[in-house]
Symmetry: C2
Subunit: 358 residues, 2 copies
């Protein structure tokens, strides 16, 4: 198979982890006889520094031309502490999502057995948890109108959804539930928000078409609680952009560490594959970032964008085997990890590559 | 001391738990020689059924005349499943908050040692956690303009804050941090939202006045994760209405159960004291609801509205003693709880009262 992949490392540890991700793609191409070509582009803070824009036109052009995108992270502390900055790295990320029509963000939360101890949650609560989140990614308060009023003393954002936006993501979630345990939980705040009531109406209207799937509705506050109280009660979860952002970060504790979580952003065209973790400037350049979320993002790319199931399984299998062999990055090391098994970013990548070359 | 207390049971288990709360107030009055008088009023679904309005004028008048309000819960599944209902129980709650100017919702999250095992989080992560949340309660997307557009096919809500609204709650949080461990975490989503950037500006502008308090800012997604990963890193947390709703429900797992969490809503006038848990129609009328959140709400009332510290401590002490004696309601019973120690709502109330009468 011939595919063209754009690597977009972005900011902070993005470069370190996508380097490993790309090596895994190369190893898979060799092993399975595919021809993957690569290009690279800027986004976020590094793009602002180089071009003045967080999403340069050239990057967007390359994105549109690619069969899939391997993404790192965006963000920089400089902007976090300056609420008045007009140009911000995150604008690049949001604009990309919008321009590429990436309305469905899939975040699978599954614990590798070996990491049961890395979580703050009790093993008996976690064992067997397996959740697939569908986060809507191109609507909600992320993209509604926002402005300052009253000489800057008042600020508002608009939380907004149209029925077609809800319908397309909810359908994707129903379809996925069918291939899994046939349970769908829709999360909203319909007891307060009009946009949530619209969301709930759409889910209720579609549900009869998927009569084989059991549907429940939860308010976001209750969902945030239930997710850690009893993660096993969830199969597929579908929710809006903001609530999805919050719940999936929270759910990272179910997977032991944020450093293990991959995501796929898909829509009508090119898919973007990226870790859930951010740019993590506190550890940037230290060579300690966990590359496994990027590696698992590659697995999602192979599966979802290219339909290469065996290849995707080979990648996940390699991650599993490396964990079984006892290797850990710092973030997932536990009290029983042997010190010589705690690896940096590159060394962890090498372990994965060795297995894929074997 | 003479005080007039309005009891507003509301919906579902609200009546069962406030009954116990009121008995505790009566016991305290007897024990410490106070004169508490009581009245009762309707809110929520029961008020809609009786008067057509979720917050009848008579209730509001009684609320304004009271020295403090003991509140139950509002909500009914009937409305949750009918997104098109025009009159809803929650409107009564929100209107009350607005009318009484209850802009600060205090939610203390503290684990009774005996309940370490009731949580889904590991004991070593929880031990020593003690967080005081300040949730803004009369602004944000709860009160901004909302409507349907486009023949009902689009819906929006407005997330809106003005500087003075942020300033008054943030000041309360700083003041509280001074009396505790001098750490304040402000939670927002300033990397995306304009209302969050305004929030962050205000916190940054006020911080120098409280130079003895260490301030950090977290994005809501990261905060939702950190809260379960490492709850001990938090002392006082201040955040907006929506983010506070989500984080405090999630934080209930730190306290072992939602059934243990009390809250105080205060502002310029009468304070409202209520459990964080909702109306819980699934267990209503079964006599199994945990009354301890209502009992602990009484403790907050005695302390915050009446300045009766010793009385508040007596109530908290009674809860502690009853837990130490091994008594549990169903929601906080663990594998080691003796079956005969699992009590219903009234029996648990009796245990508390016996201790207060001793
Ligand atoms: C960086 C930020 C804007 C982004 C978001 O909120 O969507 C991130 O948290 C994510 O989840 O991809
Ligand atoms: C019932 C609901 C409207 C309410 C809220 O969201 O404020 C509740 O969840 C709470 O936290 O008091």
């Amino acid at each position: 198979m011939k595919k063209h992949i754009l690597v977009v490392p972005g900011d902070g540890i993005g470069a370190e982890v996508t380097t490993v991700g790309k090596q895994v793609l190369e190893a898979i191409a060799r092993k399975f006889g595919h021809e993957f070509t690569y290009d690279e582009a800027l986004i976020g803070h590094v793009a602002i520094e180089a071009t003045g824009s967080p999403l340069p036109g050239e990057t967007l052009t390359k994105m549109r031309a690619a069969d899939a995108i391997l993404f790192g992270a965006v963000g920089h502390p400089k902007y976090d502490n300056d609420p008045t900055a007009k140009v911000r790295p995150e604008q690049g990320l949001l604009q990309m999502r919008k321009e590429l029509g990436l309305y469905a963000n899939l975040r699978p939360i599954k614990l590798f057995d070996e990491l049961l101890d890395a979580s703050s949650i009790k093993p008996e609560i976690l064992r067997g948890a397996d959740i697939l989140f569908f986060r809507e990614l191109t609507g909600d308060v992320y993209f509604g109108k926002r402005e300052r009023l009253d000489e800057g003393n008042t600020a508002y954002d608009t939380m907004i959804y149209s029925k077609y936006e809800v319908e397309r993501i909810v359908r994707k979630a129903f379809e996925a539930a069918r291939t899994r345990n046939k349970r769908l939980c829709s999360v909203d705040k319909a007891n307060v928000l009009e946009s949530s009531r619209l969301w709930r109406e759409v889910v209720q209207a579609i549900a009869p078409e998927y009569a084989d799937v059991e549907v429940e509705h939860q308010f976001i506050d209750a969902a945030a609680m239930l997710l850690i109280k009893d993660p096993k009660r969830f199969d597929v979860v579908v929710t809006g952009n903001l609530f999805g952002d919050i719940l999936t970060d929270e759910a990272s504790q179910i997977a032991g560490s944020m450093g293990m979580l991959a995501s796929a952003s898909v829509g009508d065209n090119t898919g973007v594959y990226e870790p859930i973790h951010g740019s993590a400037h506190d550890i940037t350049g230290k060579g300690v970032a966990n590359p496994l979320a990027s590696v698992l993002s590659v697995a999602l790319m192979l599966d979802i964008s290219f339909g290469l199931k065996a290849e995707a399984e080979a990648v996940v299998g390699a991650v599993d085997a490396v964990l079984k062999a006892g290797y850990r990055t710092r973030d997932i090391a536990g009290p029983t990890t042997q010190p010589e098994h705690v690896l940096g970013t590159d060394a962890m990548g090498q372990q994965i590559l060795q297995l894929l070359q074997a």
